[in-house]
Symmetry: none
Subunit: 413 residues, 2 copies
Amino acid sequence: MTAEILAVGSELLTPQRVDTNSLYLTQKLNELGVEVVAKGVIGDDRVRLTQAIEQARARTPLLILTGGLGPTEDDVTRDAAATACGCNLVFHQEIVDAIEARFRSFRRAMAPINRRQAYILEGAEILPNERGTAPGQWLRDQAGVVILLPGPPNELKPMFEAQCLPRLVQWLPQRHIVARVLRVAGMPESDLDQLISPIYTRYTNPVTTILAAPGDIQVHFRAHGSSDAEARALVEELSRQVEEALRDKIYSRDGESLEEVVGRLLSERGATLAVAESCTGGLLAERITSVPGSSRYFLGGWVSYSSHAKTAWLGVSPQTLETHGAVSAEAAREMAQRAREAACSTLGVSVTGVAGPAPDPGSSHPVGLVYIAVADQQSCEVKERRFVGERDRVRLQASQLALDLIRRKLVGN
Amino acid sequence: MTAEILAVGSELLTPQRVDTNSLYLTQKLNELGVEVVAKGVIGDDRVRLTQAIEQARARTPLLILTGGLGPTEDDVTRDAAATACGCNLVFHQEIVDAIEARFRSFRRAMAPINRRQAYILEGAEILPNERGTAPGQWLRDQAGVVILLPGPPNELKPMFEAQCLPRLVQWLPQRHIVARVLRVAGMPESDLDQLISPIYTRYTNPVTTILAAPGDIQVHFRAHGSSDAEARALVEELSRQVEEALRDKIYSRDGESLEEVVGRLLSERGATLAVAESCTGGLLAERITSVPGSSRYFLGGWVSYSSHAKTAWLGVSPQTLETHGAVSAEAAREMAQRAREAACSTLGVSVTGVAGPAPDPGSSHPVGLVYIAVADQQSCEVKERRFVGERDRVRLQASQLALDLIRRKLVGN
């Protein structure tokens, strides 16, 4: 089975924006055994979009359209799809009622233009939108299936997951696909590939895909088989060998992010955490608290960006800063220990370094030099690293290593 | 003038990869006054690609193809372009000689399959590749211009810059382009559009594009004229009216981000800042410190995630928390004031609220309720908002409003 994805919106034809919905949709379709053979972006242009839909439908039985379902003149997906599919648009009062209720719940009045969002392709099923005003649409006709989804990812994803996946599973010929993702922290992609490519290149089923971000690598396996058990066994055979090669570098086997793993480990142990950050400037705390429920184990943090903040707020000794500097193993150690003591937490973690783009005035430390400390009641371990890249990348890698050190401390390796 | 861009390569149809060449090309084309009206990705499939080229050429006079120029069976761009353009492929011995010389310079022998790269569309100009083996091609026929470029960005960019830009400038009708972007904080897109669409829809030149993110909207204008002054005057005329409608909602007119604007205003006034965050969990500090040089004005922050952190670290009165709760105007006020005092900063800013996904245990506060306070020596202002959306979105909007309140405090409105 093949599919095409068309993203609608002139903003996606600017130099600043890239359509990322298609990556999510491709992943979900691939998991169902559907191959995406083309994708495109069309501006808010009724004529061009109508033609693009006609041409795509002539090539593939499944077409997913994203965006262009808003209430303004610029939102042309409904009209274009109706013309291309040769069907009418039918007004649904119950959609207007739902949009009005949504606005009322925020104590606002619905603008009259929102009525445009109540037009549905004749014969299509309405996909209610829990997070926005634009409902999605699922149309099955003699040419195949067309799905209309809202553009904002936070509306599109839950709608696709809850309402399109079950319909697709029913509509598609039965196939068994099993996927797994191993996630690895703090390893350069080339080192990882050198280690595991001799293993995974021996297999064409499962397919292996490697996805690298600063300090974080995902190794994806996807196998197909005539039964779920067969596909699972294929993934298992390859994954076992790769896991043996990567060992404790792997932090998750089920898609959990590093901040989720750290949160789960802390929760399981009834442990708590406090952080003291300098060069990451709040990023470490932000990542930890991005996990719902993190207040159970995260007590708080200091963004001790100035020397005054390090000494007066945290209680780092002025002598330490004078003798060793704020970017030093000694400063990192004291920051972690003082954070732990002040918060009465199980662990205290600190990050201090030079994020760049330029070295700190009057300092000889190179950009990218970072010290990270993890303290518990008994001891405090400090790591020194020299990260490569821009300010953002240095900060991201530093926060990643800090999280990985917390993980290792908690699992004991 | 309009253009389309087609990226060729099955790897660009995986969930992991996104075509970024088109962003670079769009920027360059926009600067020449060329509008990209559609773009697409096609796998390594001769038939599909041929059809896509035919369809694109029927719509637009300029088509840029990227990728698929390698030496393997999978590289089908040359063949497909020849079929679609109705011309022969001509073998050029001098290209083979150049590729062989390149291999020799690395002390390697050219593989016979590299001869495939020496086939050029009949009538096309050869665009030599300084950084790889695949030459580009420039074909001008009665349907317009087709450009074939290699996929690797480090080969594509210098080739486009040195060899395509001069040809395009010559080929395109002479035009001058001027662009401007207004950035707006804390306004729902629909409210903004209702306010300014009566203005910008009266103009087709400049073209207006609106890009919306949570709590942040960009309004782009792009005008063309027969001179730079004419294009500038057109942008000026529209922008002035939109600026009058949006007034103090606009935080930048030159692309500066809100955190950069806040940093610049603080620097200009010799003012300093400290923050106390609860529900944003470090995001506000992270955004402020994402700006290089922020240590000049940002003294630090507290992520006072627990009640203990609010009272013991910051010095918020336990009675305040008991009487009004941690999510209250009173708590926000004290957090901002205590942060300012402890940091000896010009301004103290605080955020406390319910990020979700669920309400806090034992609390009647709805998800999305946020209090933000900005304190200076004289006074402290507190705002209450109810943000809509997921945890991430609530946190992002809260940090955005906090930054905007700092900006307003500094400019005095």
